[in-house]
């Protein structure tokens, strides 16, 4: 255990750069805030490069820290604040390594995100996909970064429970189809089908689109079937994470 009091410390200044996506990609590492996410990461054997804990965190979680961390930095509240994305950080922040291998087994149910931009939506959809029993989530181009602090927080740790990867959806959709998994899009057009009329399935991909524009027309044309949810009231649309939840729980057998 070493101590760092000043936020001007070189390691802290370097670590702070991970708040930017560019540096996360360069180093293939990201910041993980709070005990819950860090416990989930540890349980999933994610490598933690550095761990920064303040005195309060140390008091509160001493047993877990002793059992799980071979080394860590005891830092001042000021240092923790500089690294944190939230005004009142929990007592711990870690630098975690991104996985270098991704699954190429596309069996089971998969959620594909086409340009879903809000980190809270993306994180919540990963959490919901986990709860619904999906095998994985693919973040297509334009979607929020998995390692954005708000995305991570909204996943509530579910990113460690199923396969979550970045991918080019126009290249992946044919792979699902070749493997025998139908690809279901979401749309409000005349050829779409009410989701309740679709039988439950075990192997398929469900594509959700952008918050404002929905799915791109290019991808809509590639799917096997497009679905819609009947809106009964006067709302113009559903929040994309809610629509994904309703569909995922309905579709997976």
């Amino acid at each position: 255990m070493k101590e760092i009091q000043s936020s001007k410390n070189t390691l802290i200044k370097e670590t702070k750069k991970l708040q930017q996506k560019k540096y996360r990609q360069q180093t293939q590492t990201y910041l993980l805030e709070g005990f819950h996410l860090i416990q989930e990461a540890k349980a999933a054997n994610v490598a933690l490069k550095e761990v920064f804990i303040n005195q309060r965190g140390l008091n509160e979680w001493s047993e877990w820290i002793e059992e799980n961390l071979s080394d860590y930095y005891l830092v001042s509240d000021e240092v923790l604040k500089v690294l944190a994305s939230q005004p009142t950080p929990q007592g711990i922040i870690a630098v975690a390594e991104m996985p270098q291998e991704v699954s190429s087994d596309f069996s089971g149910a998969w959620l594909l995100l086409d340009n879903v931009q809000d980190p809270g939506n993306v994180g919540t959809m990963i959490r919901t996909a986990d709860a619904a029993g999906f095998s994985g989530v693919i973040l297509g181009q334009g979607s929020a970064d998995l390692y954005n602090p708000k995305t991570l927080r909204s996943t509530q740790g579910s990113l460690y429970h199923l396969s979550v990867q970045n991918g080019e959806l126009s290249a992946l959709i044919p792979q699902f189809q070749q493997a025998g998994s139908p690809v279901l899009g979401t749309a409000l057009d005349k050829e779409a089908k009410e989701y309740l009329a679709v039988e439950k399935m075990t192997d398929f991909a469900l594509v959700m689109g952008n918050e404002g524009q929905g799915m791109s027309s290019e991808l809509l044309a590639m799917t096997d079937q497009n679905l819609y949810i009947t809106i009964k009231g006067q709302a113009e649309s559903l929040n994309v994470a809610i629509a994904a939840g309703v569909l995922m729980f309905h579709l997976l057998k």
Copy 2:
């Protein structure tokens, strides 16, 4: 049309106070930001006391403004920024009056919120209740304020499409029951029933609980039936707004 350039103007200083719940309650008015929400309010005959528009908003929406507003203030970007909850406000902010009468007809499907604290969750659930064809939403004690800017934004205007009211849930649950509407709670206990085993209904109340603690034990004991959603993966729970969406779309006939 009058002009206000300075954020030190008395009316602006008074209006800014509506960012605090205390002043909203005192005056029974609230701030409404952006053209979409203000159009929805107008369409629902909500009284707008004052409307503040900047030059950009005026250029963009001149036709709608001319047709719909008898009077407004042309304000500087600085003034709009002072009144807005977001760093880059849209070109219009209005002071709207709260409704003074609430529905006491509890027929149809109702969503009851027990201490749901996040404004985004509360707003999203109002939007989803609208889309699912619910008749109303009751915000029980401890729930986020309907007139918080984030709640309003998340409703996407649905607060004007169905009855949304504050209420004491322990007093209202017996009213639903006396009117013949079963009250369904949400819980993860042994006596709860998997939601898929429940037949679709037309008249009922569904109670959703706090993000961390769920429903209070007092209310859980008052319901006719408590429901749960089977979690298939390793997620500990669902986001409350997602769970509400899955249940609302399943339960309402």
